[in-house]
Symmetry: C2
Subunit: 132 residues, 2 copies
DNA sequence: GCAATTGATGTAATAACATAACATATCCGT
DNA sequence: ACGGATATGTTATGTTATTACATCAATTGC
C-alpha cells in the first residue's frame, strides 16, 4: 500500500512515535500532544487506526502499545508476517521478518483451511544489553 | 510443572473456562461466577494468574481473553512455544505447536543474544466452518 | 455555484480491562 | 498454639478503548 499524505493529527502522532525510543501507549501519546492541542483519546486512536492501516505503525498486542515501523522503505504488508522482540527492561523493540516461519505458519493454516487476517508474533524478554 | 491441587476459586474459574466454547474475558468469567459468590475482578484475576502459572490456561493477548489449555496431558511449557488460530466469527481457538517455527525463532533470538521469557503467536481470521 | 457526499476533527461520556492497597481468613509445619 | 505463607474479600482506582453526537473541510456531481 502506498501511504497517502498524512493529515495533521496523523503526522503529529507519527512524529511522536518516530522519535520515541520505545513503544508508546495511546495515552502516553496523548500526553505528549497536549501542547499541540490534543484533548481526547479518540484523537490518538483515530490517527493510529489510519497509521496502522497504512502499515507505517505497528500495534504490540502484548503490551498495548504502538511503534513506528522499523522498515519504512520496505512494505511490511508484503512480508505477510512481522515479528517483534520486546525488551522488558529498556523497552527497545527489534522488528524482524522470517520467511521460513511465515511459510510454516502459512502451510499449517492452509492445512486447517483457516483464513488468516492478522498475525501477531511477539517475544518478550531481555535484549543483549539488558540481559544479566 | 506438575499442577498442584486447585483452590476453590481456581477450580471455579478453571471449570468455567473448560466448559466454554470460546475464550472468555476476565469480566465474563466474573459474571458467570456471581452465583458462586464472586463479587470482584480480583477474584478472577488472581485465580487466572495461578492457572496461567500452572500452564493449564492460556492468555490470548490479542483479544484480552483466556482459554483452557487444549493439551492438558502434555506439558505446554515443554513445547516452549504455543500458537493459536482464533476464529473471529465463532470464537473457536485452535491451539498448536510447531517445532520448526520454535526452532527458527529460537535461533534468531540466540543470534541477537535476546533472552526470551514469554512468547506470543496468535493468528486471527476465520476457521474452515466460518470462512465464506 | 451549490447541494450532497465523504473524510477528518472535536468533545463528552462510558465501557472494558487490570491493579493497588488493605483487611481477614485458612492452611501447614513446628 | 504459634508463626509464616498463601488464599480470599472488598473498595477504590488506574489504564485502555469505544460509542455517540456535533462540527468542519475537501471533493464530487449537477
Amino acid at each position: 500500500m502506498t501511504t497517502p499524505m498524512l493529515t495533521k493529527n496523523q503526522s503529529l502522532v507519527f512524529d511522536v512515535l518516530t522519535k520515541a525510543e520505545a513503544p508508546l501507549s495511546a495515552y502516553t501519546i496523548l500526553d505528549k500532544l497536549r501542547d499541540q492541542g490534543f484533548r481526547a483519546p479518540l484523537q490518538v486512536y483515530r490517527a493510529l487506526d489510519k497509521l496502522l492501516e497504512y502499515g507505517v505503525v505497528h500495534r504490540l498486542e502484548s503490551i498495548n502499545s504502538f511503534v513506528a515501523c522499523a522498515h519504512p522503505n520496505e512494505d511490511c504488508h508484503s512480508h505477510g508476517l512481522v515479528a517483534f522482540a520486546i525488551c522488558e527492561s529498556c523497552g527497545q523493540v527489534i522488528e524482524f521478518h522470517d520467511h521460513e516461519v511465515d511459510h510454516r505458519l502459512t502451510d499449517w493454516l492452509k492445512s486447517q483451511k483457516f483464513k488468516a487476517e492478522k498475525s501477531t508474533i511477539e517475544i518478550r524478554g531481555h535484549c543483549a544489553n539488558c540481559a544479566a
